[in-house]
């Protein structure tokens, strides 16, 4: 077989992490090729036209954890990236048409919360400060490869020790109280601090978005710490003007300007290797491309169970990958609206971000349904109306509304997602109609993305938006599988650079950034081959 062309690095998949990795590797002087199956880059961070004149971030929809190393390092502001604030940060809707508005400014939130409970209003900023210590202490871990646990490198140990000392500044007992948090169910954490059910449920929703766990599940409190990393140091959750596609396009331009080649409409069918060493990739059209290094932006299951030759991987490793929990739990419903809907009983304007999760029990019951393989009879919804702050997405006076629907398990016990797609859409619309009367009449177009659709549209195995559950057993040194958390894989020269690697999912750019640095570290040894 003759190799048509060859590069130093081939990146499988043009998702945001792959593009970040490509840019850093190209800047370091390597010849980089990014291969993307779809017609546009971005993976699940895309803007799509769901009806003529109506555009929407159909997958990922907000940004809060995008690394400064990426935003500033890649000069994204000069490449079209403009953030738009989301205020109020979220409006939690109660069943009796009550609404709790939470703002990025915690003092503003305080006065809103005071209407429900004076005690909660007092506790709220203290709660954020308490968890903020943790969030801030963990922040540097995002852009550092996890250590080797059997023989940790000296500077990894020193780094972690300094992190621990930093955290210890809060005092011995507060430190222990913080250490108590990660394994707790988020329900227990928010119930200890607050008495307002709507507030508890909204915080729980923050912790649970995109995961297949409920508020009663131990370990979910850590999800809240992670969510708060966006705001711990003065940041916020924001929209991208023009939708997430603008971010991905900006990343692609950065990569290209650094010298990388980005090729779309090119699906990688195989990662080629022999005798434990990667040699390149083969595309679906049969073209072969040689490479010293291949970095996969695809999720671990797709990478190791579909793209890599199983003979190159040990049975133990393959078993571990098969056991990697990726059962997706969310669906997306995107709507084009002919007008501006209003929240029932609310004089205020339509907020850019609201959620329907009136109580902890509501969320847990939704989770119960999914545990036994059914879509939630009463799902909880996280809904954005980006057109409130971004008029470029729809004609004047009209809107797009985009809902994250939880829970919708990829693996259904009965039926199939093909058959149940419309049922899910109808259920979501009926629920929205309850809280925004008159909405249904305004719907001009509706796009329902079941977990199966998320898989086929965005390449997310089992529809998991984070490339795998973000539970404590699949984080840090355990992600994606024990022993392989440093972006390297059992195939020499093959790396994982997507959300299936530390620090996991969400639009952070960190896995790509970290993988690139790991590759550059290994380069002297690999580059020679």
């Amino acid at each position: 077989m003759t190799v048509a062309e060859s590069y130093d690095v081939v990146i499988v998949g043009g998702g945001h992490n792959g593009l970040v990795a490509a840019t850093y590797l190209a800047r370091a002087g390597s010849r980089v090729l990014v291969l993307e199956k779809q017609g546009t880059v971005g993976g699940a961070a895309v803007t799509q036209e769901i009806a003529p004149g109506f555009r929407c971030s159909t997958g990922a929809y907000m940004v809060g954890l995008l690394r400064p190393e990426v935003i500033e390092g890649l000069q994204l502001a000069t490449r079209g990236l403009q953030f738009l604030p989301c205020e109020p940060a979220v409006v939690a809707l109660g069943q009796d048409h009550t609404a709790l508005r939470l703002w990025t400014d915690s003092r503003k939130s305080q006065s809103e919360i005071a209407a429900h409970s004076a005690k909660d209003a007092e506790m709220y900023p203290r709660f954020l400060e308490f968890l903020g210590h943790f969030a801030k202490a963990l922040d540097p871990l995002m852009v550092r490869a996890p250590p080797d646990i059997q023989s940790p490198a000296y500077n990894d140990l020193w780094f972690l020790f300094r992190r621990a000392l930093r955290l210890r500044r809060v005092g011995t007992v507060p430190l222990q109280q913080l250490l108590r948090v990660p394994p707790m169910p988020v329900k227990d954490l928010v119930t200890e601090w607050f008495e307002t059910e709507l507030l508890r449920a909204s915080l729980a929703a923050d912790a649970l978005l995109g995961t297949f766990q409920g508020p009663w599940s131990p370990g979910t409190a850590f999800g809240l710490v992670r969510h708060l990393m966006a705001t711990a140091d003065g940041g916020s959750w924001r929209f991208v003007r023009g939708g997430m596609g603008v971010l991905s396009d900006g990343l692609a331009r950065a990569a290209q300007e650094a010298g990388a080649t980005v090729r779309t409409h090119t699906e990688v069918a195989r990662i080629m290797s022999s005798a434990g060493r990667v040699s390149g990739v083969e595309t679906a059209s049969g073209e072969t491309i040689g490479a010293k290094i291949v970095a996969s932006n695809a999720d671990p299951k797709r990478t190791f169970l579909h793209l890599v030759d199983p003979a190159e991987l040990s049975p133990e490793f393959l078993l571990q990958v098969r056991n990697y929990e990726m059962n997706g739990a969310v669906a997306r419903v995107n709507l084009a609206l002919d007008g501006a809907p209003r929240l029932a009983g609310d004089a205020e304007d339509l907020p850019p971000h609201f959620r329907i999760a009136p109580s902890l029990e509501y969320i847990e019951r939704a989770y119960d349904d999914a545990k036994y393989g059914s879509a939630s009879a009463e799902p909880f919804l996280d809904v954005v109306v980006p057109t409130v702050v971004d008029p470029t997405l729809a004609p004047s006076g009209k809107h797009v509304m985009s809902a994250l629907v939880q829970y919708a398990p990829y693996n259904l016990r009965r039926g199939s997602w093909d058959k149940d797609r419309d049922k899910l859409g109808d259920r979501v619309l009926a629920l929205l109609e309850d809280y925004l009367p008159g909405l249904e009449r305004m719907v001009v177009a509706r796009q329902v993305l079941t977990p199966a659709d998320l898989e086929s549209a965005f390449g997310l195995t089992e529809g998991h938006i984070y490339h795998g559950e973000m539970t404590l057993d699949q984080l840090y040194v355990l992600r994606p599988v024990p022993g392989w958390s440093q972006y390297r894989t059992p195939v020499d020269g093959l790396y994982l650079c997507g959300s299936g690697a530390h620090p996991g999912g969400g639009i952070t750019g960190a896995p790509g950034y970290n993988a690139a640095r790991q590759i550059l570290r290994d380069w002297p040894r690999l580059g020679r081959a």
């Binding site: 646990i149 007992v173 222990q176 200890e192 599940s217 131990p218």
Partner: protein
Amino acid sequence: MTAAYLARARKKVVVLERRYVLGGAAVTEEVYPGFKFTVCSYVCSLMRPQIIRDLDLPSHGFEVIPQESSFTPLPDGRYLFHRGDEEDAFQAIAKFSRRDAEAYPRFGRLMAKMAKFIVPTLSMTPPNIGSMRISELRKLLALNKQRKELTEDELYTFARLMTMSAADYLDEWFETDVLKAGLCASGIIGTLLGPRSPGTAYVLMHHYMGEIDGAYRSWGYVRGGMGMVSESIARAARKFGAEIRVNADVRRILVRNGRAIGVELASGETLHAKIVASSADPKRTFLKFLERSELPPDFVRGIENFKIEGSSGKVNLALKEAPSFSALPGNGPQLQGAISIGPSVDYIEKAYDDAKYGNYSHRPYVDMCVPSTLDPTLAPPGKHIMSCFVQYAPYTLRKGTWEERREEFGETVIDTIEEYIPNIRKIILHKQVLSPWDLEQVFGLTGGNIFHGELTPDQLLFLRPIAGWAQYRTPIKGLYLCGSGAHPGGGVMGAPGMNAAREILRDWAMLKV
């Protein structure tokens, strides 16, 4: 336990027990004439061998009869039944899946290896994390040395066991639902967690810590009922010179200038002492026996947040004959060991769902045994006692009270058993139903929680009972916690008592007394 160790160190000790019988929840009571009910705790395995040796318990009547078999009937008439030995287990599981039969011993060996790693930590006082004192750092180094005993794979396994659900972890090993259900059950006994709750894989492994004569995960009956555990420890304590008084109901711990000076009984009698060690649970100790004003506010808040919701009930039956299962009829070996009503993982998870929302399970998981089949001293000849441990029965009911609904709960349990033993109702001579509320009222278990508090990572080790106070000492000088609310937690281990005694003696030696 603490009394025995302190008396052994020649301290003058008196134990004050509210009830007429010693043992807390490890008691044997003749609830129905002629029948000795092992009322709460029903099997023993986690008692530390060191304690059995130190106190010479066998000489005081402590004898364990191994409970070797495990029987799980299924609604469709099939069953999983295996006795202690590997060959037997292989055959029994192979009826369902040969692959699982082969994996089972490997699984057991790995769990035992993991459990062995934990065992020494049971007798350690937890380190005070964050403290830079030499004594604390030394504890951390000791733990680190423990860690080095494990291979890299085993370290990862341990991390995964601590963070995964029993169901997910077992899915990686086995395909047979009833086998997984039985193992999951040991992950949720006494907890308000379900088989799919992360962290239950650890509790499952915790149960492999049982050792009797060195055999891991072997559990056994105590001859004469669990009361003999308590009685033998009491005898050892008395032998060392401790005084034990029953019907002595402590109402208050007396404090002067931040120091414990004794206790006051319900009768009004006061006793003075240099040291007070409470084996009551943390909520009872700090929120009932003391005034809130005597404790720092943060401490009080921490104790208020300590999770101690009970989730279990107990139904004890006196039977006129041996029960007969329709899946495997007759008075055979299947009655001599552990019997589970828990045919699938979903069954147990659904039972848990009910509890989450403040109901007892409409179809509960039941862990049953008929110890009279091996210990004839418990019932008249030909008759039997059956002990049924029930999950889930949450302490806090959404509707009604336990006093109102106890009967109904008992009927639900009997209904469930009836699906497997059709004639159960005809052979019951006497039924005793203990709701979590009863466990609280009668046995002093706040919330009816059998472990004196949930065994979840946020309340274990250096966090048990709360952050900063995990070394048996309390904010009141001279007051110590020596029960299951302290490390290493519940189960009839004796470890908290032994560790507390050690810390008390250490403080005594350092003239802190």
